[in-house]
Symmetry: C2
Subunit: 429 residues, 2 copies
């Protein structure tokens, strides 16, 4: 059977999808008994050069040419962002079309609405490419690891910040230099907010936690801090205590109480995530039966993302042939409580600027003692013009205690500023 596919958007990912669908057309026919082809492509500019061989007649600037065409059975969305992608996808689903998307923002913020619409229409909504690019994550969590209660998700799921932090580690560059280089190379956008402030990772964590913890997770429940406060000095101090700095997305489920966090984190150099560098992504998963698992691969890019999108197209085709679209439903998720104390106790790294005079250390130590915070290491790193830089590594302490101590430090006249606060990831067994 011939199956017509409409493609919304023809940027980097869209062009990769066209390319890969063409290359694999025979294999897909063999595997599914269907002959799919992309027959219509929605673009904003009909004249733009896209680096692939495209029949001009396929292009359109009118979304209805795809959404209202009853012969188009599958819609692939690669526009990104919330609107108009959301409206297009809802229209397609209601019209009985299967939808494949790589849109993490949309699934993180409007996943329930979209999945419920797909379930009501009895069609597939598939989004393997939304998290981790080419790495199979959604399907393993939804289908392979179902025998487990997943207790921990821990990952490097934003390639831009991982590239920046890797550069800072390898070259000693400061944040702004590494960001500029990433922008020059096209790894970071002109407005890097969504990546460097941790929002992109938080959206992906929302999607992973929803599936992994089998719970309705809201983006607002993720505690987010980005990497702007990380300096070359932090990278150096981290190295001195055997760690590298990574932007980690962390989710835990302890007997139904969730804790969700995106934060720059000190990761011991022997930890499997410490070696994940550049634009690679990795997700560490702990299940109560499986034990520790890790999935690693390219988190972005034209063909890696297309690999997951086209894999989903093949799944949709198989489901169509068997008449079981929407085979693995994703509804009926309970809401789980989020730990108000921010999860389990961890060691923490604090860097601050203090007045360089006698007695300041004693005051800091006294306050920590009052709050029940035990210090593992205190280092006075350097001093100039009456200001000393102090780095403290604490023993394990609940994040909530750290927040209280930082507040109290901010009230102390002898502490000029708290410049960087990061948890330290414990080693896995």
């Amino acid at each position: 059977m011939d199956i017509r596919i409409g493609l919304l958007g023809c940027g980097t990912v869209g062009a990769g999808v066209i390319d890969l669908m063409r290359k694999r057309s025979n294999k897909i026919s063999d595997m599914t008994g269907m002959r799919p082809s992309i027959t219509r492509v929605l673009v904003r500019d009909l004249t733009k050069e896209r680096g692939i061989d495209l029949d001009g007649a396929m292009l359109t600037t009118n979304p209805d040419d795809i959404l209202s065409d009853p012969d188009i059975r599958i819609v692939i969305e690669t526009i990104g962002g919330i609107e108009p992608a959301r409206s297009y996808i809802l229209t397609a689903l209601k019209a009985g079309k299967h939808v494949i998307t790589a849109n993490k923002d949309l699934i993180a913020l409007h996943g329930s609405e979209i999945i419920e619409t797909a379930d009501a229409a009895g069609v597939d909504i598939l989004y393997e490419a939304a998290v981790g690019g080419a790495i199979p994550l959604i399907r393993p969590l939804k289908e392979s690891l179902t025998a487990n209660d997943i207790t921990d998700l821990l990952g490097i799921i934003n390639g831009t910040t991982n590239y920046i932090l890797t550069q800072m580690t390898e070259t000693g560059a400061d944040f702004s230099e590494a960001l500029k280089e990433a922008q020059d190379l096209g790894y970071a956008e002109a407005d890097p907010t969504s990546d460097v402030d941790g929002l992109d990772a938080a959206r992906k964590l929302t999607i992973l936690a929803t599936i992994g913890f089998h719970a309705k997770v809201n983006l607002s429940e993720v505690e987010v801090s980005g990497i702007r406060s990380v300096t070359a000095a932090d990278v150096k101090y981290a190295s001195e205590i055997g760690c590298v700095i990574k932007l980690l997305a962390s989710g835990t489920d302890r007997n139904g109480i969730l804790s969700l966090r995106v934060s720059p984190t000190l990761v011991p150099k022997q930890h499997p995530l410490a070696g994940v560098s550049g634009s690679y992504n990795a997700l560490f998963v702990r299940g109560d039966a499986s034990g520790d698992l890790m999935f690693f691969g390219r988190g972005a890019g034209s063909l890696p993302t297309a690999s997951s999108v086209v894999g989903d197209v093949i799944e949709a085709l198989r489901n169509m042939r068997l008449n079981v679209s929407g085979r693995v439903s994703q509804m009926v998720m309970p809401h789980k409580t989020v730990d108000p104390d921010g999860g389990s106790a961890l060691r923490h790294y604090l860097r601050m600027s203090v007045v360089d005079q006698p007695g300041v250390f004693a005051k800091i130590a006294g306050l920590c003692g009052d709050e029940g915070l035990s210090m593992e290491t205190v280092l006075q790193k350097r001093a100039s013009k009456g200001t000393a830089e102090v780095v403290i590594v604490t023993h394990e302490v609940k994040p909530e205690v750290i927040r209280r101590v930082v507040e109290a430090f901010r009230q102390m006249p002898s502490i000029k500023s708290i410049d960087c606060v990061m948890p330290v990831q414990p080693m896995t067994e």
Copy 2:
């Protein structure tokens, strides 16, 4: 709907399956709309203590109590080995029962017969646990990465040899000491042949290559060498050139020409597989669209293996509910040619014992030159009683050339023995 399950075998894995099925019964009902329960367990000894709470009435020594009971819809096989597991599974499939198995030996040697029987009967045959224990490998290759032509599979897929080699690396122990320790701890069997001679890894590679390369692969097409020839000295010399020794299973598909090998291999310390230690498994996959991927986790053990078995039970239940058992068929595999030259050129490590007298080096070098083998490093490591130990690391050369050179070395009177030959794994990009 109540679904009765029969379990064949109640050893380590079988007991884990019973335990996990009980723990997850509510979750499985929620996910599948079915209420499965293990109602019959085939054992050899009714009186043996199994460390789990079992209703004695469930146990039987008669396989027909499971295979001929029409109320039993799913059979889980955890006996292992070829017979009687093969006959039991074929009987169950022909009777219309879905079969879940962790039996890599059987799938590697009789996979075609079993899969064809399942397809003819319209039932599921699922075996995620056969390779990589808890790590999702079979389903990602069969369902997530289908948009790719897989070009490389490279993995540590035998936990016993990985434990032994890790011990040799960490403690400097020789092979026989490390093997004895592994046996004492229950990580290696009394007869360790299948593990240490590489057969277990070769069987698993056969299964992975069949799915990944979409080809009928025979076990006899895998070139196998085990780890018995690896000495504490090899581990030390490997370390000197920045490598660790791992038993790697390697498969490549170069435009339809396969190369399949299991061999102890020098792996650069920065390679992602170098850090996979102890009883962990890892599989590195390269797809033409996805780029490099790695999957990591526990390769064996009661609950990790049960994690994959019970995941397959949930898949079988979902397929039953939708009436699409045998959903992803595995037939129609072409046979692909295996490269007679043993695959692409690699650096090689050779350790040999030579007569300690002037001119021997010149002879070795001359022979290498005649055969077109270029040496990167030659080290005379130590000498005693007229014998010198020589280690050569070659430049990249086809395995077929290495075989020819080793044969020629064996004819040279001044070379007493060729003691160890291993390829050197190149770094990934």
